[in-house]
């Protein structure tokens, strides 16, 4: 097990390296290919040649891409200095880069933003798992009934609705017209109640989308599982139906759901761009979109890596949980 975890962690590092390299390559090469100069983005309106050179030097853009990448990687572990003559900008480890646009280190910025996504993702995921698998299971058990058909139609509608549309409608109705919820986010630390109220709509909107997928998936999985021989065996033992479903069928049903849950949660922690934009939440996704709009490469880079990290870690976690749930999976 330990060996496995170690190996997987090596794997995680490798994947992150690849993601970093690709992101780095694209964002630092594309401007070159399209003929625009990233250094130009950081100088004032009229670009003095020497100033551009200075910026280029300070940001390390005058070095080869390999060297830049190396400096970037090194920065993550030991921190990094950006020098321009006497003026030294220090970025302490883990240095995911430094935004010259906002004069901030990327890492604290990300840590700052991730709280929103964390609040969003955790709340929504609890909701959707409970709602989604709940309705899926009930649908599967009541297969073919009116209830089944209604919930499954609802679920199909759920996966077909763009979430920003649902979100806007929810905002229009519940926040603006009825005024039940505020349409802004408050930090938990500032006011837990407002935090909760502000997140209710995003949670529901996000959960609705995911719940629909989970309902469909859990219904299909449960139906498959119910056809398994071992369920028949459980019945043959004379177990009561609730035990058969609740214990034998559910355990197998939840395992595949665990997998996509990991992916989804990981994805959300790394930024829920659409939700954040719709509900004006300042999370990683929003940060990324704004930094894209302002070509703030270090921040884009940081968010991408951060998000990839979440996805990969979530996958690792899921795999390990899987091994706990399913004794046939041997790690090692």
């Amino acid at each position: 097990m330990l060996v496995y975890v170690f190996r997987r962690l090596v794997n995680v590092v490798f994947m992150l390296l690849v993601v970093a390299a690709v992101t780095f390559g694209i964002f630092f090469m594309v401007p070159k290919l399209t003929g625009s100069d990233p250094a130009l983005l950081y100088v004032g309106k009229i670009a003095d040649k020497a100033a551009v050179e200075g910026i280029r030097h300070k940001m390390g853009l005058d070095k080869s891409i390999i060297e830049q990448f190396w400096l970037f990687l090194k920065g993550i572990f030991v921190g990094r200095d950006f020098n321009a003559g006497v003026d030294v900008t220090h970025c302490s480890a883990p240095c995911l880069g430094y935004s010259f646009k906002t004069e901030r280190e990327v890492w604290p910025l990300l840590l700052d933003r991730v709280g929103v996504d964390f609040s969003l993702a955790v709340g929504a995921s609890i909701l959707w798992v409970v709602l989604g698998t709940g309705t899926g299971v009930v649908s599967a058990l009541r297969r073919g009934t009116l209830l089944d058909r209604i919930t499954m139609t609802g679920a199909l509608a759920g996966v077909s609705l763009p979430m920003y549309f649902t979100g806007l409608v929810a905002l229009a109705v519940f926040a603006n017209n009825l005024g039940w919820f505020p349409n802004n986010y408050t930090d938990f630390a500032d006011d837990p109640l407002l935090w909760f109220e502000g997140l209710v709509l995003p949670w529901i909107t996000l959960a609705f989308l995911f719940a629909a997928t989970y309902a469909r998936l859990s219904r299909a999985t449960l139906l498959d599982v119910l056809g398994e021989d071992y369920i028949r065996t459980a019945r043959a033992k004379g177990l009561a139906e609730p035990v058969v479903i609740g214990k034998h069928a559910m355990r197998s049903t939840l395992t595949p759901i665990l997998t996509i849950f990991g992916m989804d949660l990981g994805g959300l922690l790394g930024g829920a761009v659409l939700t954040e934009k719709t509900f004006n939440l300042r999370g990683l996704g929003y940060e990324a979109v704004t930094s894209i709009a302002s070509s703030d490469l270090p921040v884009i880079m940081g968010v991408t890596l951060f998000a990839a990290f979440f996805i990969i870690m979530a996958n690792l976690l899921v795999d390990m949980l899987y091994a706990v749930v399913d004794p046939r999976v041997r790690l090692g």
């Binding site: 297969r143 073919g144 398994e228 021989d229 071992y230 028949r232 065996t233 459980a234 019945r235 043959a236 033992k237 004379g238 177990l239 009561a240 139906e241 035990v243 034998h248 355990r251 197998s252 749930v325 399913d326 004794p327 046939r328």
Partner: protein, 348 residues
Amino acid sequence: MSINDKPFLSVRDLKVHFPTDDGLVKSVNGLSFDLEKGKTLGIVGESGSGKSVTSLSIMGLHRAGGKRGAPQISGEIWLDGEDLVAAGPDRVRKLRGQKMAMIFQDPLTAMHPYYTVGAQIVEGYRAHHPGVSKREARKRAIEMLDRVGIPQPDKRVDNYPHEFSGGMRQRAMIAMALVNDPSLLIADEPTTALDVTVQAQILDLIRDLQKEFGSAVIIITHDLGVVAELADDILVMYGGKPVERGPAATLFESPEHPYTWGLLGSMPRLDRELQDRLTPVKGTPPSLINVPSGCAFHPRCPYAELTGGRSTTEVPVLAEAAPQHHAACHLPIAERHRIFADEIAPRL
């Protein structure tokens, strides 16, 4: 079979029909038999002849009526004086695992991969012995594993099914089935997935356990050799119907139905002289949606013409051909005996 008492298990005119998109699948279409405690009934027949459906009907394991994929079941299944078809699902569930138990063909898929063998046995035990503590139930599980010949049962009890070999899995399945001392044990192709050497072990085990518990056993298989090893009585099914039924010895000695002849003739046998050629049953098994009219076997029966057309129009009934030996065939008994003696027996 005793005549005075009501038999322990008695199936009367069982019909199990599945409505499907393509039509009504008449998987079992009028099956009757009796079985006493301590006796073994072998059910043989080709794939799709309705053997498994019959056993699942007895166990009440088909989907409840009204649901999709649920069969229409009619007839009576009397177990120890109780009609299982008429009884409520709750009652049947109580009997299941306690009074009647079942062993399935593929023990790997029939056991839950996520629970230990022990846990699965314990669960079955405690379901019917609510007062029993976990510790006691575990002891019972170890005892059962020991009984079915699993070495080091106190260690193996905590293994998962995938950690067992095929033979051990089937033994564990048997332990699971017998944990509540059921009076009826149904084994649906318990050895088909196993090697001959292991099959021999399992068959021995079943036989020994039956002697020990004195329960009634139904063994379902398509291997005539297996039934010959175990069964007291044999029931041959074809297209959802019984075509021949009788004590094992007589059935093998003087089979009455041309289908049974066909089965015997198509098997190469180690215990006989080497035949030059096998005598297969021609054609393919019947569709259960469009069962051939009259005798379902007539399209494949080499002697169908000898019935003067009755076989295509008239459904033959199971009639006594010899004491306790019944067959459903339009051929006159004498004719059958003649054909068997002249044409079939020499080739076997």
